[in-house]
């Protein structure tokens, strides 16, 4: 795997670093959740130009910096490493900006009012990435950037109940 100079990427993105981080995260989610898109981008038989065109079509409103980075990733055949790239750049941005990227998982899209409560509890230095996973049935799962997990989901409670019954 060819290395990406994240420090340089951060410098180049300038004030758009946060936006780029979000775009890369979204791209990662898109690839990992949409198997057809993932398979197309991973397929070495497909031309690089076709892959770039697909990304442009799927992310029409993304920044120029994002498309440049994705072009680089496609040219260097690093699509399979997108999770690692997104995570590494996210960690760098968080470190430079003195912030934290936490992940919130809900069973359905949360209201702004509800998200406001989370932001109030977490503070200004925490940015949330929202995930929708109907399998958690209700409640939420809060995953912090440093690996801590608060599972307040109904699926989690049912799982806990199941363990208690089975003991």
């Amino acid at each position: 795997m060819k290395e990406i100079d994240f420090e340089k990427l951060f410098e180049l993105s300038g004030v758009g670093a946060l936006a780029l981080e979000e775009e890369l995260y979204g791209f990662k989610k898109a690839i990992t959740s949409n198997y057809e898109l993932g398979d197309f981008l991973y397929d070495l038989r497909q031309s690089k130009e076709a892959k770039k065109k697909i990304v442009t079509d799927v992310f029409p409103g993304a920044s120029k910096m994002f498309h440049d980075v994705i072009s680089l990733i496609i040219d260097e055949e690093l699509c399979r490493n997108i999770s690692e790239i997104s995570r590494s750049f996210g960690a760098l941005v968080a470190n430079k900006k003195k912030i934290r990227f936490d992940e919130l998982v809900f069973s359905e899209k949360p209201t702004d009012e509800l998200l406001g409560k989370f932001k109030k509890i977490a503070g200004e230095r925490v940015r949330f990435k929202i995930e929708i996973d109907p399998s958690i049935m209700g409640g939420f799962i809060w995953k912090t950037m440093d690996g801590r997990i608060m599972d307040a989901s109904i699926a989690g409670r049912l799982s806990q109940m199941k363990e208690e019954i089975a003991v």
Partner: protein, 156 residues
Amino acid sequence: MFELETGLIFWNTVSFGILVFIMYKWGLPPILAMLSLRQKTISDSMSYAEANQKKSEELLFEYKKKLGEASESASRMLKSSKSEAERARLDMLKQAEVQADQIIEGARQDLKSEKEKIIKEAKKEIADLVVAAASMVIGRTLSAEDNKKIIEEALQ
């Protein structure tokens, strides 16, 4: 009638005396020598016989002594063999008892673990059913408002 003839007596006496003399001079010594030799032979034979008898008695005594010792040794060996056989029998019996106890304990443990396994599996199945039922009910009945309440309660 009875008549004493002195002349005949005389000559008979002379003849007898000559005979005694001849016997004494030439007849008696070889006889005495023979008798003496015979006596010596008999005496030697008797000494030899006595010695043999003594030796035989000693041998007999020795034989009886050894026979007694052999008998005693055989008796001891028999007793020892019996004792060893008894000990071996008891050892085998004890070993068999220990093995039987081990088998019983093993079977008891197997039974216990099998019972625990069955209970555990039953609990797991019950838990699965309960959770599946609960999931179904919650999935059908949980409203957005309920979900919001659950989230807010967790945040407090």
